[in-house]
Every structure is written in structure tokens, then in C-alpha cells.
Symmetry: C2
């Protein structure tokens, strides 16, 4: 997928960083592609980029507005519509990861026609996917699984893919969500696939490859998430992972925005994922735990990693802080 670069990152009136995970993902992994941020009145998220409205952003070089907010349900908020029209009128394309197609909003469709700007719906694939076959494909695969949404599966797999490559292994990051696609330029937004073709889309995403090539596959949701577990299971079956990496936020005790839904013990979540994964790859195993320790000091983070290594009996790492060389070597040796 080709988008006009660089981006003005649109933050809507998001109140919390977790609501703008697309914005942070693109800023962190495509920093050269981000020149400015733009929030609506009342917005509280700050990426640390210059704050510019569309016309000023265009003048400094921006060529697309990227919707950096990720609301539950993926709908276009009516409050955004005047802002998106303003961006088109300033000369910017729009790059969106919403379920709602941009052109389905009449004001946006009309403004795009009038200004000649492009509308990109990253979440929608034009591919017709097959039903999953369960047939084993050559090549090694690693999949991030989680105790919840939005706790580091994308960062973990982006960091691991880079570390695999740095260590001299053939490895490809496979995006399964809109932000990952915006970062890597390819992939399938697995949660937007028609349900019957979930496993088939996951099979298509990591096709047969060299026996020593690693697909590092971004995870989605969680098998214990009341809303999204179906997506997670289709992705798990279709990915046929040899290696699972469990991603967890050590400060989260219940599912985000689902009060009362406690996160089970990590060993329970690991056992469940391994059991389900073995249906399509009997060799599947959990090889490591990725912990998001970004909210504490490096020393406290290191202590959390040590504690979890002892209690869980698996290598633990923070994808943004740990030396990933030994983690990669351990994974390759284990599979």
C-alpha cells in the first residue's frame, strides 16, 4: 500500500493514550513519516510532535492526515467529520484504520471528490480469502498472544522481527491490524475479515516459506477477551505458530473497559493458547513472555521481569527495554 508521506497525525478529542494507540505506534515505528499532530478541542493526548492544523501542516510538508485514534468498534466519530473535510480542503489525503469506510460518510466523499484527494481504508482488504485448510506450511512462525487487547503485541512483534533480522535470520513482520499495516505497508486487518474466512486469511498472511524463514505475526485480542476471542482463535489456528509469545501488562488485573472480567493467571492463559494452537500445529509451544514495563523505572521493570521469570519458568523480556539477542537465540534453539 502506498500513502502520500509524511503524515499529520489526527488525535480527535482522545482523553487517554490507550485510545490513540495507532498514533503512538506510527510515531514510534515510522518516526521519519510523522511531521505534526492535531487534536480537537478538549483532546488530552500528546505525541510530542508540533501541533499544527491541516493548512499549516501541509505548508511544512505533510501530505496525508492519518487517523491516530482507535475507538472501540472502529466507527468514524461524527465530531471528526468537519476536521476530516478541513484536511482534504488543505490538500491532505486521509489514511484511516476504521471499520467505517471514509467514502460512506457523504460529507467526506463529497470533499474528496471536490478536492481530488485520496481516501485510504487500511482496514479493508480487497482480497477474497479462502476458508482455512489447517494444512501445515513450510517455514517457522511466531505469534504474539495476549492476556488482553492493547498491551504490547504489536510492539513485541515489531521489535522481535527487527531482532531476528539483526541476528542474521530471515524474518518478516506480518501485520494483522491497521496500525501494523500503516507501519509496514502490508498485511491484513484480521478483525475486519468476514468471520468464515478468519483462519483462511491468517493462512494467506504467512504463506509457505523457506524452512528457516520466520514469520513474526502480530497478535490480536485475547482468547479470554469477552468481545474479541473469536478473532484471536481464528488467527491462532490459521497462523499455525511454532512459537507463542504471551504479551501481558503486569499492572493490569482486569480486561480494559470490561470491569469484572479478571485476567486469569498467566499459566492458565498460556495453557489455553497452547492447547488451541496444537490443533493446527502439534509442535506449538510458548517460548517467552513479553511484559510491558513502560510505566515504571528501568530498575523496577527489570525486577518485574525477574519475578515473572521465577514464577512462570519462561524467559521474560520487555520488547522496548531488554536485549533481545538472547531471547531470539533462545526461541530459535527451542523451535
Amino acid at each position: 500500500m502506498k500513502f502520500a508521506l509524511p503524515y499529520l497525525i489526527f488525535l480527535g478529542d482522545a482523553q487517554a493514550d490507550l485510545d490513540a494507540k495507532t498514533a503512538f505506534g506510527v510515531r514510534d515505528w515510522r518516526p521519519g513519516a510523522c511531521v505534526a499532530q492535531w487534536a480537537l478541542a478538549g483532546g488530552k493526548v500528546d505525541l510530542g510532535l508540533p501541533a499544527l492544523a491541516p493548512a499549516a501542516a501541509f505548508a511544512t510538508g505533510a501530505r496525508s492526515l492519518l487517523i491516530g485514534v482507535a475507538p472501540v468498534g472502529g466507527q468514524i466519530n461524527p465530531k471528526w467529520i468537519p476536521a476530516l473535510v478541513q484536511a482534504l480542503e488543505a490538500g491532505l489525503d486521509i489514511v484511516s484504520g476504521m471499520h467505517t469506510r471514509l467514502e460512506s460518510v457523504p460529507e467526506i466523499a463529497e470533499a474528496a471528490r471536490r478536492t481530488g484527494r485520496a481516501l485510504h481504508n487500511v482496514r479493508h482488504s480487497e482480497t477474497a480469502f479462502p476458508v482455512g485448510t489447517g494444512q501445515k506450511r513450510p517455514g517457522k512462525r511466531l505469534l504474539a498472544v495476549g492476556t488482553d487487547c492493547a498491551l504490547g503485541k504489536k510492539y513485541t512483534t515489531l521489535a522481535l522481527a527487527r531482532a531476528f533480522q539483526t541476528a542474521g535470520h530471515k524474518a518478516t513482520f506480518r501485520a494483522t491490524g491497521q496500525t501494523g499495516i500503516m507501519i509496514s505497508g502490508a498485511g491484513v486487518a484480521i478483525d475486519a475479515v468476514v468471520a468464515d474466512f478468519l483462519a483462511g486469511a491468517a493462512e494467506t498472511l504467512s504463506p509457505a516459506n523457506d524452512p528457516d524463514h520466520w514469520d513474526i505475526i502480530e497478535g490480536q485480542g485475547s482468547l479470554v477477551h469477552p468481545g474479541y476471542a473469536g478473532v484471536s482463535l481464528g488467527l491462532l489456528h490459521g497462523s499455525q505458530p511454532d512459537a507463542l509469545v504471551l504479551c501481558h501488562d503486569p499492572f493490569r488485573t482486569e480486561i480494559d473497559e470490561y470491569p469484572g472480567f479478571l485476567i486469569p493467571p498467566l499459566a492458565t492463559v498460556i495453557d489455553l493458547n497452547v492447547q488451541m494452537a496444537r490443533r493446527t500445529n502439534p509442535a506449538a509451544k510458548c517460548v517467552a513472555i513479553a511484559l510491558n514495563t513502560s510505566s515504571v523505572s528501568p530498575e523496577e521493570g527489570a525486577a518485574i521481569l525477574r519475578d515473572h521469570e521465577q514464577s512462570e519458568g519462561l524467559p521474560c523480556f520487555d520488547p522496548m527495554r531488554s536485549d533481545l539477542g538472547p531471547i531470539v537465540a533462545g526461541i530459535v534453539a527451542a523451535c
Copy 2:
């Protein structure tokens, strides 16, 4: 949904009864709505209805051609196109449960325009579903789960819904597949929902109800199916069943059309379904096993039921042969 009745059932060139399960379902549960069948050259399926081409069927009263074939992937076979055009030209509407929309085939769209006939795509809902919330709703719910696809989940729930009603309980059959929708006139084809909204669609299908009302929910696929397990899990989480009924074909040892994928022991499949169901309804339990014994004599079928009752320790029944009164009474007492 309103369709012009009665139906001419279209069988394509299906070779096996299992490939025409829509046709058998509608024949068995809406017998008064089916006046004739029509197979292409080489077709081997026989519903026992008069074999009539579209013009003759129209002359005997047929007003819609219903596509009774259910191919994997749900695509419209190019071989069917001239036949479907012929049906429109004979004055019949078309009722389809395919993923492919009828109007996306240019020849069919053109013929429908020219003849003024209606095209019904039962698998597609116009509803925008929410993300699943996991919030418990009042009312009792029963969900059929399975060891595989196409072994009796629809027949089991249709028969149970009728038996609940006969026993004086408030009960509603909730269709989750195209054939169930064609039979009952309402429902959601859950496998055609965008994956992010799987659990939310299932929640929408059986909304809050009287505490003593039973939703009897048609199951889809299986948690151990390599292609469709994601659909099954989203339906399970969103349905929040109090009662699970496991549906099984006692003569099937591996997943149909997935050679090498053995069906696990029934107790394993039950444990897996109950474990997952308890995420959204901690009271979920498996209350009975429905066995499809249609391929053997009534005496042999009864022996199979007795054997399974002993080995599995649960009430076992054949939905088309057993007296369901005691089964219903047992389910109500257990929940």
C-alpha cells in the same frame, strides 16, 4: 424476512447429501413451502420431491428458486449462472444463502433487472452490530455446540425449541445460519459477520428476555475445527449459554473434508466448550449430548444412545427419534 412461496429447491450438481444440507433442512422443517426440486446434469442428490425445471415449477405454483447447495466457502458456482438466469426468466425470485451476493454476478443482476424479479441474500445482514460487551442478560439460553460442522446442530435446536414449546415453556429458536433463517424467517448468519463483531452479533441475536424464557440457539462449526473455530468461539461467548448440548455424529472419526484432523474424545470437546463458555457465563454447563443416528436402524440407534449415556455420563438423545419431553424436563431442572 419475507420470501415469495413456495420454493423450487435448486440442487446444482451436488454429489452428496452433505453438500445439500440447506435443501434437506428446508424440506424437513418447511415441507409445505417446497413444491419441487431441480438438479443439473450429473447431480446425485434427491429430496424425493417432483423434479421440475423452472418453467414447469412456476406452472405448478413455485414463486422462488431456493439455492439448496452449501459449498465450502459459500461462493456462487459459475456452472449455476445459466440456471439461475433461467429461473428468473421463468418468473421465480431467487433466495440464496451464499457469501457471494447474487447481484454481484453481472448476468444475474441483469436478468433480475430485466424480469423484475427479487434477489434475496439471506446470509447478509443490514444490521451494524456492536462489539460484544460480555454483560449478562436476563433469560435462559441453550446453545448447540459440536464436534464438527454439518452433523445436526440445526436439527437439534429446531427439535428442542419445538419440544420446549410443547412442554409449555416460553422458547424461541434463534437461527445463526442461512438455512435456519430460511426456515424460521429471522436470525443472523453469524459466519458472515465481520470478525470484530462476532460476539456482539451473538449478543444481539438473543437479547434480554423474561427470566424463564429460553433462547434455543443454533450452533455453528466447532471449537476443534481448523477452519471455523473462531466463528464458534465468538458465538459461544456472545450467546452466554446456561446450557450446552454437544452434537455429534457417532460414525464420524475425523473432521469432514479435513483428513487427518481426528475428532477428540467427546469429554475433551465438552470440557473445552464449558471452559470457554464460563468466561461470559460462569454457570454454563453441558446438559446433554445429541447424536445423529439417522444412518442406522432405530434399534441400533437406541443402543448407540445407551452406550454413550454410560460412557459420557450425560443424557443422550437423537433429536429426530427420541422422546424429547424428558430431555427438556432434565435441562430445565438442571439450569
